[in-house]
Subunit: 216 residues, 2 copies
């Protein structure tokens, strides 16, 4: 979307996106009206259409930005080493951190796909596939190197992604467990699930400590 509306326009657009994510998560996309959304943001309904000519343009923007954000976060978190266990651990950490931060946006992205037009659905699914392919590559490299024991990289990738994304369904900050405790447990479960050779996580820990020290 061209940002020719200057700084106030950008602020309004951001407020629209934020309010839309939370309204859609609460009511569902089909049930939310542009009128309701305008009222929530405190603008006229006509003003919304300047940013999002149709309601579906808005939904598509939310979903595309969610996936772009996820892929960017992974590009930034991706370790520079080739060790599959280290890469897998980084993928798990990034995936959980990203989704816990964006609980509503994740709900919208997972639940409202049916309301996208065919072409836009294809675009969003293509981005998802690209992201999941990264995980499949890690699993395949680990299996080929003999450090993971995986029957089917496709199935294992889906199982891990659904297990990790599922965190947003029950996790609430400030309850029994912190994000880092949850992440640590999911990391152990993931490493066992892929049959990571004993010691793989120790190597991982050492490499992470090194990487962290390097970026300080």
């Amino acid at each position: 979307m061209a940002r020719t509306t200057g700084s106030d326009g950008e602020k309004t657009e951001a407020a629209v996106r934020e309010a839309a994510v939370s309204l859609i998560a609460r009511l569902g996309y089909e049930a939310m009206s542009m009128r309701q959304l305008a009222a929530e943001v405190g603008v006229q309904a006509a003003a919304l259409y300047r940013y999002f000519p149709t309601k579906e343009d808005l939904l598509f923007t939310l979903m595309r930005e969610h996936m772009e954000g996820l892929i960017e976060a992974w590009d930034a978190a991706r370790p520079t080493v080739a060790d599959p266990a280290t890469r897998l651990a980084a993928y798990v950490e990034n995936h959980i951190a990203f989704h816990i931060e964006r609980r509503h946006s994740t709900h919208v992205s997972n639940m409202e796909l049916r309301s996208l037009s065919h072409d836009r659905l294809t675009q969003v699914l293509r981005m998802r596939t690209a992201y999941e392919k990264e995980l499949r590559a890690i699993l395949r490299d680990g299996a080929e190197a003999g450090v993971f024991s995986v029957e089917d990289t496709g199935l294992t990738a889906m199982a891990l992604i659904q297990m990790m994304t599922g965190v947003i369904v029950w996790f609430r900050p400030g309850e029994r467990l912190s994000i880092s405790e949850v992440t640590a447990t999911y990391l152990s479960m993931t490493m066992r699930l892929v049959g990571a050779a004993h010691g793989a996580t120790t190597t991982y820990g050492a490499v992470r400590a090194f990487e962290r020290a390097r970026t300080l």
Copy 2:
């Protein structure tokens, strides 16, 4: 729901439920109207209200029956032995088989909770908790017996349930893998995830063969 309407009434009610599940899965609960549903079933809208006085009564019935069905299926599948690995394997098999058979109903049950009234939401969540508690008990027994290695039974139960239910998102009968191949892979992943002692699945296989022979 009292079934005083006789056999034709029961058939209509079943047709309404079936059409509702598929319409809600496709359009979403909020977007579906009782008028559309009546047209789909081929009855007058007024006739629907004989079975379901409100739209929310219908949604609640679908969700309650989904959970009752799941709990009944597990009661029937529950092994008579105490061995945690055998019980866990039976839980996984039953969970995957039940949800693959009821893909639309599972979507409705997972995605439309927000449209239930507080009391009914509480009832549905209570049934879910009872079902998940069965899994937590298996994990705890396994951990206490030293055959599973589990950091947190609550987290592990949620991770397993979300990983298994996620099958319905991507699995389509007649594609690359059969239900039994998918189930076998999920079983291996589950056993590794809970750190099942080597040989636990062999015991499981032997016990299952015994149980199957016994019920023939």
